[in-house]
């Protein structure tokens, strides 16, 4: 057992708390030596400027070491000031109750550790135990509020506040996917992932420190250009034209994608990453919505064509601004409802997290696209041939859509109707494991973070995928499809399949749910998936 305890977070700069080795074993065929790429060495230069003393990984690239003693004192002082604000009605009203409950009432039963995929996948490294982070914050706060006396020590305020502790805590906040599986297992209903999120919020909103991918190239860019991808209105219009042409090339049928159509019933918003990385997905939505005869549109207004809201992971102010910008784009068009495409955190941000943010005209109904897609299948408005999807399919449940929003069955009803070889992962539904890209990790690629993300955070999901396909995994002729109806989950699964070469070696494919639907549409004479098009004639009837 690891001998580390929360007080060790204050250890001096020379001590790296853990080294990453001996991960949770993977199932066949990744149980053999040499199947997993080895670790990359940590660059010496990073150690001088960043906090590598937690686990040798840098997740928050903007968390840099103060240069002088004065800067160091100011850094710690700002952290303490921010910690006070987490406990204030004036500055943390939206999360005060859940935060106080999680902070005050933990019974230290450790039920959360068994639920945490990062803790388990890492080989049970102590710093990743969900209560390690929470307990470190509690100890810092109690020491700070009660001084170093007996009263502080009695309630756990028994460690010094120093620079290294604050830096390590800032990094540790980015070793949690915010998937909330721990909260589901907690007998008192408390949420360690919320504590991780609040530490992130403290660093961002008080100290101005947040990973570049989430802040500068994330929310700030979205508010400036309209999308976290940096895509401006003109570029969006060009991409829509490109997608229309692509659909015509792929299917032989021309569709006109409605943009800025006033008074439409539905404003469909995608994660803009789809347009750049997986344009087949918005294309498939367009085909299905047009064939089903829905009255819909897309928006070219600021934030109206990008459903992402990275703010929900680290910064309430940014989250609020983006949510309002999206609502206002819908309001400008006069639509009845906002429908979110295949993006998990955007589902939650739009429908749940920002629900108590607006009243009156901005209070436009928001809903998931999954029930609409399920109803398209059920209604018979579009004809499908399930045999076109006659290959093993499994479903990844995005935490934000399932555990935090309760959309569980519509996606299953679609897959059960259209995929004869559908099989569930274990566990699944609200008990699923995160893909490893949750909480912003999918877009965070700074320094050596991607490697940690794939080897630790995504490891449990990779194990689940391999387990789901154990009957066919060793046969590269049979395509195996991971249905991941969320952009960030897809990003994580793409990176995972790349790192382990699972597509190249074992023909494990991934994409969303609408691509499967379009692939099964009888009006098209060829598969929608490129990887099915080669040799399609010979494989007809598989």
């Amino acid at each position: 057992m690891d001998s580390l305890k929360p007080q060790d977070i204050t250890r001096p700069l020379s001590d790296q708390l853990i080294s990453l080795d001996k991960f949770m074993p993977l199932p066949a065929p990744y149980d053999k030596p040499g199947m997993e790429p080895g670790p990359s060495p940590l660059k010496e230069a990073w150690k001088d400027n960043h906090c590598t003393t937690l686990d040798g990984i840098i997740g928050n690239d903007r968390l840099t070491r103060p240069g002088t003693k004065e800067e160091e004192e100011r850094f710690v002082k700002n952290f303490l000031s921010g910690m006070d604000k987490l406990f204030s009605k004036e500055t943390n009203s939206g999360f005060l109750t859940p935060f106080l409950l999680a902070f005050e009432y933990c019974a230290k039963c450790d039920a959360c550790s068994e639920a945490c995929h990062i803790f388990k996948a890492s080989g049970e490294k102590e710093v990743y135990r969900p209560i390690f982070r929470s307990e470190a914050l509690r100890k810092l706060y109690r020491r700070y509020k009660k001084g170093g006396g007996l009263a502080a020590r009695f309630t756990g305020g028994d460690m010094e506040i120093n620079l290294e502790a604050v830096l390590r805590l800032g990094e540790l906040a980015y070793r949690c996917n915010l998937c909330r599986r721990c909260a589901q297992n907690c007998p008192l209903g408390l949420d360690n992932s919320l504590i991780a999120r609040e530490i992130r919020a403290l660093f961002s909103m008080e100290m101005g420190i947040a990973p570049t991918s989430l802040h500068e190239r994330g929310t700030l860019l979205q508010l400036k250009t309209g999308s976290s991808t940096g895509m401006k209105r003109k570029a969006f219009s060009n991409i829509i034209e490109f997608i229309e042409e692509e659909i015509a090339d792929r299917t032989g049928k021309m569709y006109k994608i409605p943009v800025d159509k006033k008074g439409a019933d539905i404003l469909l918003i995608h994660n803009a990453g789809e347009f750049l990385s997986w344009p087949d997905n918005p294309a498939a939505f367009a085909i299905l919505f047009e064939e089903a005869g829905l009255n819909w549109t897309m928006s070219s207004e600021l934030a109206g064509y990008d459903a992402v809201n990275y703010g929900i992971w680290y910064d309430d102010v940014q989250a609020q601004k983006i949510a309002l910008a999206q609502r206002r784009a819908a309001r400008e068009l006069g639509v009845r409802r906002i429908v979110i495409g295949e993006c998990g955190h955007a589902h939650r941000a739009a429908a749940v997290s920002s629900d108590r943010l607006a009243a009156g005209a901005d209070n436009i109904p928001r809903e998931s696209s999954f029930p609409i897609l399920r109803d398209i299948v059920r209604s018979g408005a579009v004809k499908f041939d399930p045999l076109r999807n006659n290959f093993p399919v499994t479903l990844h449940d995005p935490c934000n859509i399932v555990r935090s929003m309760g959309v569980v069955m519509p996606q299953r009803q679609i897959l059960k109707a259209l995929c004869p070889q559908f099989r569930e992962m274990t566990p699944h539904g609200v008990n699923n494991y995160c893909c490893g890209g949750g909480g912003g990790f999918s877009v965070m690629r700074e320094m050596n973070f991607s490697e940690w993300k794939m080897k630790v955070a995504a490891r449990m999901k990779f194990k689940q995928i391999l387990d789901a396909f154990q009957d066919t995994i060793q046969d590269p002729v049979i395509p195996k499809y991971v249905c991941a109806p969320c952009s960030n989950c897809k990003g994580a699964i793409r990176d995972m399949l790349d790192l382990y070469q699972a597509t190249a070696k074992f023909n494990v494919q991934y994409a969303g749910i609408v691509e499967l639907m379009v692939n099964a549409m009888v009006i098209f004479d060829r598969p929608y998936f490129e990887w099915l098009q080669e040799g399609w004639a010979e494989r007809k009837g598989i």
Binding site: M1, G82, K85, S88, K89, E90, T91, N92, S93, G94, F95, L96, T97, P98, L100, L101, E104, Y105, A107, K108, C109, D110, E114, R129, E135, T155, G156, R180, A183, N185, P187, L188, G189, L194, G208, V317, Q318, A319, Q320, K321, R337, V352, S353, S354, D355, R356, L357, A358, A359, N363, P365, E367, F370, P371, I372, M405, G406, V408, G429, V430
Partner: protein, 302 residues
């Protein structure tokens, strides 16, 4: 008489501090939605597999329906059987449930003492020189009091002692246990053991009824050293509990009902929308300091 006054104060402090804590949580601003599925208020099987109203297109145009039965059923499972701990941490559940079941029995025991004291004050003797009285009600109260008191105190003592030992012996739990948490268990154990010591000389819990009778009639509590020590420990525990994390009977209510199970949507024209409107009108008196946090709009949280 001092013991009687002390017990009044202890009971009042327990109720007062607990209610104050409830008041503090209830006064917190409207929090953002942070529900976690399954939410038992969802209708039918959705409540069990974790579905929600979001599984329907145009959910906002449908009537809002809440399964109160589902909520009460889950509350009972969690409150009476500590289901989540049973499912996720079976070993710990055995010890923790022993202690909590003991406490539940002692709460029931207290009501039985009250029933017994009222019965005796109204003229019906619960006991004779040889044991329980002959009247069926007297016998029922007498034996129920004896069983719940003995089992409750024994289970509480066993549970708190075993939790204490497990925290000391289990390397992981030891690392995360602070001094106050050991103290809390010791305090409960001491109160339970002192009660068992008193009980060993009075298996019918007559002393307990006398204490309650004294409190009902504002009379002095007469007792030996053992009873006095037990009363002082029990009273002090009552005063102490609401001020510590042992008040999780309050925390758990808010965690489930106001956070994890609260998926009340902000529908146009609803009571919730009015609450949201009021919340949005509030101008915070303090701000976060990072440069990107400007002065426009509501900034405190999403």
């Amino acid at each position: 008489m001092l013991l009687t006054v002390f017990m009044y104060l202890a009971a009042a402090a327990f109720a007062g501090f607990s209610l104050y804590k409830v008041y503090l949580f209830a006064q917190n601003p409207l929090n953002n939605r942070w529900e976690l599925y399954p939410v038992p208020g969802e209708l039918g099987t959705r409540g069990s597999y974790g579905g929600s109203y979001y599984e329907e297109a145009e959910w906002w145009a449908r009537p809002r329906q809440v399964s109160h039965t589902g909520v009460y059923r889950e509350m009972l499972k969690e409150s009476l059987f500590m289901r989540n701990l049973f499912v996720n941490r079976r070993k710990h559940w055995r010890l923790s449930y022993a202690m909590h079941l003991g406490i539940y029995l002692l709460v029931f025991f207290t009501f039985l003492l009250l029933a017994g004291a009222i019965t005796e004050l109204s003229g019906l003797r619960l006991t004779t020189l040889t044991g329980a009285g002959n009247h069926p009600w007297a016998r029922l109260v007498y034996f129920a009091t004896s069983v719940t008191g003995a089992c409750g105190a024994s289970l509480t003592a066993f549970g708190s002692a075993s939790l204490l030992f497990s925290r000391v012996l289990d390397g992981t739990l030891r690392k995360y246990t602070d001094f106050d948490e050991y103290f809390n268990l010791c305090f409960i154990l001491a109160a339970a053991v002192s009660g068992l010591i008193v009980w060993s000389t009075d298996p019918g819990f007559n002393y307990g009824r006398e204490v309650v009778t004294a409190m009902l009639t504002f009379a002095p509590i007469r007792g030996g050293t053992a009873l006095t020590v037990h009363i002082l420990l029990f009273g002090a525990l009552l005063i102490y509990i609401p001020r510590t994390k042992m008040s999780h009977y309050i925390g758990k209510y808010f965690a489930y009902h106001k956070v994890l199970w609260d998926n009340e949507p902000n529908l146009s024209g609803s009571v919730m929308e009015e609450k949201v409107r009021k919340s949005l009108e509030y101008i915070p008196q303090d701000r976060w300091s990072a440069p990107h946090v400007n002065s426009a709009g509501r900034q405190d949280s999403l």
